[in-house]
């Protein structure tokens, strides 16, 4: 009983209320600017892509930044989410929500299936295996004529700013809460030292697969949002370059920092969008940015620190004796 009370108080603390207010403000301002056509369709697409990439980056960060597994197959899970959600919304005439759920769940199952054998591998070997599996997924869709094959799969556009923004918020909150739970602690212990984690009684395989499955679930969700926004999905979109792009966002923002990789995803997406008319320059500028970053901030913009918004909460007494 008293536990219930506690958690209620925790959820409605000052910091969370102010955060919710800020989110509503951001959402509302962007929505108003679109409605009054101060921002055009190009901006709309850019903002929705920012939301999609934030989901991809945060879920990749759970696998790589927090659990320490260098998996480079996120584009594959994104493709599964995209095609499976479109299968529901287009071929089976299902609702958008059904499509989003189905796409995410199939991606999560694929994550478990791929994770169990490959997560025994370490470092470079895991990277190569997941890279290859991501490409296999793409090639399967490329050769599935039922789902459009090489010419692409037409999907009606039903996602708008409201869907993209709030799905992004939900994804970040779910992953953040997972990381702050005892499961999340176990994942970080696996990253820090696998042998010690095992000696503590942590089932390291279980947590690696769990992180991989949750990461794949949200990559699938991001793919499903993408599919139902873009009019058409093409297998080529989900190549290994996409996986690298997501990994770069995470490294840019900081492995092991959620707020960091949100900034990384936002920054990269905006830079790419505003340089879209100069495709050659775009790659050069991104490369230069990355080189500068690696020289001046080798651990990413935020390292593994979080931007905490703690100043929104008045300091509690007796925190000194906390368990830190």
């Amino acid at each position: 009983m008293s536990n219930m009370k506690m958690s209620k108080l925790e959820i409605f603390n000052r910091k969370n209320v102010i955060m919710l207010f800020l989110l509503l403000l951001v959402y509302g301002i962007v929505q108003l600017l679109f409605q009054n056509q101060i921002l055009n369709k190009f901006y709309m697409m850019t903002f929705i892509l920012v939301c999609i990439y934030i989901i991809l980056a945060v879920s990749q960060n759970l696998i790589t930044g927090f659990t320490g597994q260098l998996a480079i197959g996120h584009a594959g899970f994104m493709a599964i989410g995209a095609y499976m959600s479109a299968l529901v919304t287009v071929k089976l005439d299902g609702s958008l929500i059904a499509g989003l759920i189905f796409g995410s769940i199939v991606a999560a199952f694929a994550g478990i299936l791929i994770g169990i054998p490959t997560l025994r591998l370490k470092g470079d070997y895991l990277a190569i295996a997941t890279l290859g599996l991501g490409e296999i997924v793409r090639i399967i869709f490329l050769n599935t004529d039922y789902l459009g094959g090489a010419t692409g799969f037409q999907v009606p556009k039903v996602i708008n700013w409201t869907w993209a923004f709030w799905l992004m918020v939900i994804s970040v909150v779910v992953i953040k809460n997972f990381i702050n739970s005892s499961h999340g602690r176990a994942c970080i212990a696996v990253r820090e030292n696998e042998i010690a984690a095992e000696a503590m009684g942590i089932n390291t395989t279980k947590y690696k697969v769990m992180a991989f499955a949750i990461g794949a679930l949200f990559a699938g969700l991001a793919g499903a949002i993408y599919a139902n926004y873009m009019y058409v999905i093409l297998p080529g979109t989900f190549s290994f370059l996409k996986s690298f792009e997501i990994l770069v966002m995470v490294v840019l923002g900081g492995l092991g920092s959620i707020t960091g990789c949100i900034i990384g995803a936002g920054l990269m997406t905006l830079v790419s969008a505003f340089l879209a008319n100069y495709p050659e320059m775009r790659m050069v500028i991104i490369a230069v940015l990355l080189i500068l970053l690696m020289i001046y901030r080798p651990n990413g913009l935020l390292g593994n620190k979080e931007f905490k918004f703690d100043f929104l909460n008045p300091k509690k007494k007796g925190e000194e004796n906390g368990t830190a």
Binding site: N193, I195, A197, M200, G201, N203, T323, A324
Partner: protein, 234 residues
Amino acid sequence: MLLLNNIHVFYGAIHALKGISFEVNKGEIVTLIGSNGAGKSTCLKTISGLLRPKEGALSFKDDDLTVVDAPQIVARGISHVPEGRRIFANMSVSENLDLGAYLRKDKEGIKEDREEIFTLFPRLKERRRQLAGTLSGGEQQMLAMGRALMSKPELLLLDEPSMGLAPILVKQIFEIIKEINSSGTTILLVEQNARMALSIANRAYVLETGKIVLSGNAQELMATEEVRKAYLGG
């Protein structure tokens, strides 16, 4: 309490343990000494379930451990401090200790044990908010031992706690091991520092290339010609 009978362990084709048999009784300090590569760490990893024996029997309090996985072995009361400390470097001292109690649910008991560990290792208390990676070698060893104690083990497996420490710290660590033992925890201690290990142990086994070549009362072993020559430098 702990019983190994004719245990064989392989790393691929390498035959690391060639039929090891020994026992540890409740309340004892038993030490396993032997030179580098003899198979001491392999032995501890097999007991804690990180490695599986290919042949032989392994039991703890009459339960067969060969069919139990590593987390279950921790839950049954065996805690392993691996070689080279292996602390969680980017976490604070407190967070390291919390992870030691990972399998426990009794919040009150965990709190009490944390206080007990802070009494045993006052240095850890002073530094509880510091990142573990910034501790000195001796402090990291204390943290690794404290963390293992947080699971409230009946049997503590220690792999070379003196490795890389200054002599004064080695003495301190061994004093603490005796203290842990006298408060009721049985200890299996692996050491290259045979002199120190034999001085605090009740019984000892000498391991050479995957086989036990000598065993007996620690004091008596220390007096034998073979042990003096091979492990105590003359």
